[in-house]
Amino acid sequence: MSQLSARLDLPVNRPDAPRYARRAARMLLAGWGFQDPRWLDDAELVVSELVTNAVRHGGGLIELRLEAHDEAIVVSAADGSSVVPRRRAAGGGPRDDGGRGIAIIEEFAQDWGVENHEGGKRVWVRLAAMPAQQGRRMT
């Protein structure tokens, strides 16, 4: 069970959705006690990739969720499209189009996956909670 959670609707068709989503997420996570700037940078990057993919490839309203668990933060974005993101085959050259969003997510995440969500899907990413902060967190 998560201790703290948040869900935010984001409009589709706005190219600035990733920007505001990652800033809102940063402020929210800081408010939950996760205040290490480097860790927040990584979390922002993952949020940006999830929302960018939902804007570019997804459909319908986007719902961003953040959940603080004991040892991890789970960030996810749901959209109305049932098409599922695919990790590109390894070994492509640097100029192979696309596939970088998932590569970035895999670099920063403990784990990630996709689940069904109201006719569309939810792409979730689990991030290790900032270690030094855990003791200081107040819920």
Partner: protein, 106 residues
């Protein structure tokens, strides 16, 4: 939010980027490169990433597109002054060598 300031220096055009490279600003970089390319005496474009505080996969895509645009005009385009945090992303995505010109663009 991205500000692009071109610094003309003879045969080299330097584009100073300040802000965030993402889905909402990717197009600005392409426009700035195209404007620079209007100068026929140009031999090289440098994209100065010193002031870039955030770059995600859309930003990387934008840098590769910028390099392609320059290449179509027969010019090299390289990135310089990349901060540690942005360097890390470029390396994760395997584009560091290509963008910095350590490895020739394909």
């Amino acid at each position: 939010m991205l500000t692009i300031t071109p610094q003309e220096g003879g045969a080299v055009a330097r584009l100073l980027l300040d802000g965030e490279l993402d889905l909402s600003t990717a197009g600005d970089l392409a426009s700035a490169v195209e404007e620079s390319l209007a100068d026929r005496t140009l031999e090289r474009i440098v994209v100065d990433l010193h002031g870039v505080r955030f770059c995600d996969s859309s930003g990387i895509e934008a840098l590769l597109v910028a390099q392609d645009l320059a290449a179509s005009a027969g010019l090299p385009l390289v990135t310089e002054e990349t901060s540690d945090v942005i360097t890390r992303i470029l390396k994760v995505c395997g584009v560091w060598e290509v963008l910095t010109g350590t490895q020739p663009a394909l």
